[in-house]
Symmetry: C2
Subunit: 405 residues, 2 copies
């Protein structure tokens, strides 16, 4: 007898009909003799509706009270899901996050799970019940209700799977799994049967928005194997797990395109120690997330000067310019150029470690397409290039064809 | 510094505008230097909406899961009310029933409060916060969420007032207080400045639906003085408290008319011991509530026979007839007559104990109006008569004029 944790997102439980569908799927799994724990999100639209009510009263409501308010969304879904299982004559009991033993720190609206004591979950499973747990929520040691922030229900599922030593953790969503590339851009994209945590993390942070990075990090840390799959069909999804030897046989696992990056260049920066530190400290203090950074080799005669380029989210460009303007006197750069017509193309794969020539092949492919590379950054299993926004999709298709078709 | 408990019902918190109004009232009381505990119901319509969702899935959902589901209604209101107080710069913290220390038995959907440990409420009050508590809900000793059934939020307020030894408990509703009679029927009806628990209980059980009996009983048991008043204006309401000597100076406190009573008569019942016991045991076993009972003196020649009449809720008439039909062979009555065209008129007042001639005056008044009395029942502080439904309102006006104008 296995323990299976299944997580269903907001659109999978968006109305009572869909909740009944979820119950039918749960019942089928249970009929195979397994113990099932179901983690559900708030019905789609419910959380937004609650936020709207709060903002009608006050633009910036207290985070503690927002947690109190939003936690009702998942609590509604667990009760309805339990009732839907009862309607199929399946014994089921719902538990709030606190009742399921999920203890967090006290950082309201983005609490971190500190530990899980799933005593009640175990005892209900042993009594033969399906256990329905509210995702996204927990409580502090002194009983304050907290929520886990964006993607919190995935985290609940993975943390519960770790704590219950579950045999399988399934994340049901509205996509079929993880693809080699976004199929809307690359029609030849294929669903991956499996992917390593590290590859998934690179893809998550690169904007392939299947799951939040911290859920994948948590799964990696505790060795939770999970499957991303669709609640709308019976297709197998993508298994996310620790890297295996055979994974390296595939050079590139996937390709992502992030159209949300803008490039900012400080031209004519004096080439002396401490300048880069000064710039990026100021940006960090303003809570601006910097992704790629390139500093060109010093050039020009007389005072040695250089250029510093970096990328930020397009939404942060104005804020970043303000910060940089404030440093003008201190640093003495010549000018600032912001370019929002850029996109970041990345290839990801653990096979890069053991295959040489991957970067060369990527750059050659882009050259053939007449795509100019503006910046490059690499990690052990990833190569990212910043290119013209207008050529992003064409470049993605070409690189996909070169590596994956 | 006093502790004041204020309870606001579903229509008082029916939308964000009304919640803001509630917050303003709370802020005014707090500005006078008192410690305020606010108990709120679910926003009107929310509970019905949740019940509808559950019934879309299953006609008779589990009571445990209904408690899980419905408890979200009050939890939503407490968060929004706390936010509304923050918007007025008043420190406020919301607590669910379980967080406020309300422990109940495990009878889901109609749990009884077993005890309250308001440690957290006291500590928040001492820190200067208004404390907003979710009405209608609690938890069992082992952490199951329960709800208290109809009128549960009133009960939460009164039980909290008892447990906190509050100086004042205010029940805000959409009526101004308790009246001598329903002003929609008797234009001359007056609001009562005060009423005793026992009188309030008689009126509550007689259909003057300001509050559920069990909340009044709880208040009487623990000596909680409370005020019923309107959340729509600043008028003083009606104080409900233990009987005082001066209360007996008023002969009649109020009059109620219950149009929901039907009379069932068993004609020609053998006049021998055990018959009445047999009839009313069978009705009780079928969970039919019997109100008035009259057995006429035996009459007729030969075998002594009698008639037994009683009243039940109109909704129970069919069920009651079925029960009686099933007793035909055993008892051997001649026939059964059900009359739904009846109403019950009652006068209530602790002054009856020390004033004679009250019943005579009531009967004379009805005779003058040509109203026939079909049944009579009395308690120490109440006289009820069953009369023709069509003459109910006219009779009520006449009796009000005789005693109260």
């Amino acid at each position: 007898m296995s323990i299976i944790v299944q997580k269903y997102g907001g659109s999978s439980v968006g109305n009572t009909e869909r909740i009944k569908n979820v119950a039918e799927r749960v019942a089928r799994y249970r009929a195979q003799g397994d113990q099932i724990v179901v983690v559900v999100s708030a019905m789609s639209g419910v959380t937004d509706g609650l936020i709207k009510l709060a903002k009608e009263i006050m633009p910036l409501p207290s985070e503690r009270e927002m947690d109190m308010l939003l936690a009702t969304g998942e609590q509604t879904t667990i009760a309805l899901t339990a009732i839907a299982l009862h309607a199929l004559a399946v014994p089921a009991v719902s538990l709030t996050g606190p009742q399921a033993g999920i203890v967090t720190d006290g950082v309201h609206t983005k609490a971190k799970i500190q530990n899980i004591t799933p005593k009640q979950v175990h005892s209900l499973l042993d009594q033969g019940s399906v256990v329905i747990v509210a995702g996204f929520q927990g409580q502090t040691h002194d009983g304050q209700i907290t929520t886990l922030g964006r993607g919190g229900s995935d985290l609940t599922a993975i943390a519960l799977a770790a704590s219950l030593k579950a045999d399988l953790c399934q994340i049901y969503t509205d996509v079929d799994g993880v693809y080699t590339a976004d199929p809307r851009i690359v029609p030849a994209a294929r669903k991956l049967p499996e992917i390593s945590y590290d590859e998934m993390l690179e893809l998550a942070s690169l904007g392939a928005k299947v799951m939040q990075s911290r859920s994948v990090e948590f799964a990696k840390k505790f060795g939770v194997v999970f499957e991303v799959r669709s609640s709308l069909n019976e297709n197998p999804g993508t298994i996310v797990k620790e890297e295996t030897g055979s994974m390296e046989n595939v050079v590139i696992r996937g390709i992502s395109l992030d159209k949300n990056q803008a490039k900012i260049t400080l031209v004519g920066v004096p080439d002396r120690p401490g300048i880069a530190g000064c710039v990026f400290r100021a940006l960090a203090d303003a809570a601006i997330n910097v992704d790629m950074i390139v500093q060109s080799v010093g050039h020009g005669a007389g005072t040695p000067a250089t250029d510093i380029s970096f990328t930020v989210d397009k939404a942060d460009v104005l804020k970043a310019r303000k910060v940089i303007d404030g440093l003008k006197a201190e640093i003495g750069y010549r000018e600032v150029i912001a370019d929002e017509k850029t996109s970041k193309l990345s290839i990801v794969g653990v096979g890069m470690r053991s295959h040489s020539g991957v970067a060369a092949k990527m750059f050659e492919t882009l050259a053939k397409e007449n795509v100019n590379i503006e910046m490059i950054s690499t990690s052990e299993i990833k190569i990212s290039v910043l290119i013209d926004l207008a050529k992003g999709e064409q470049a993605m298709q070409a690189v996909h064809a070169a590596f994956l078709e």
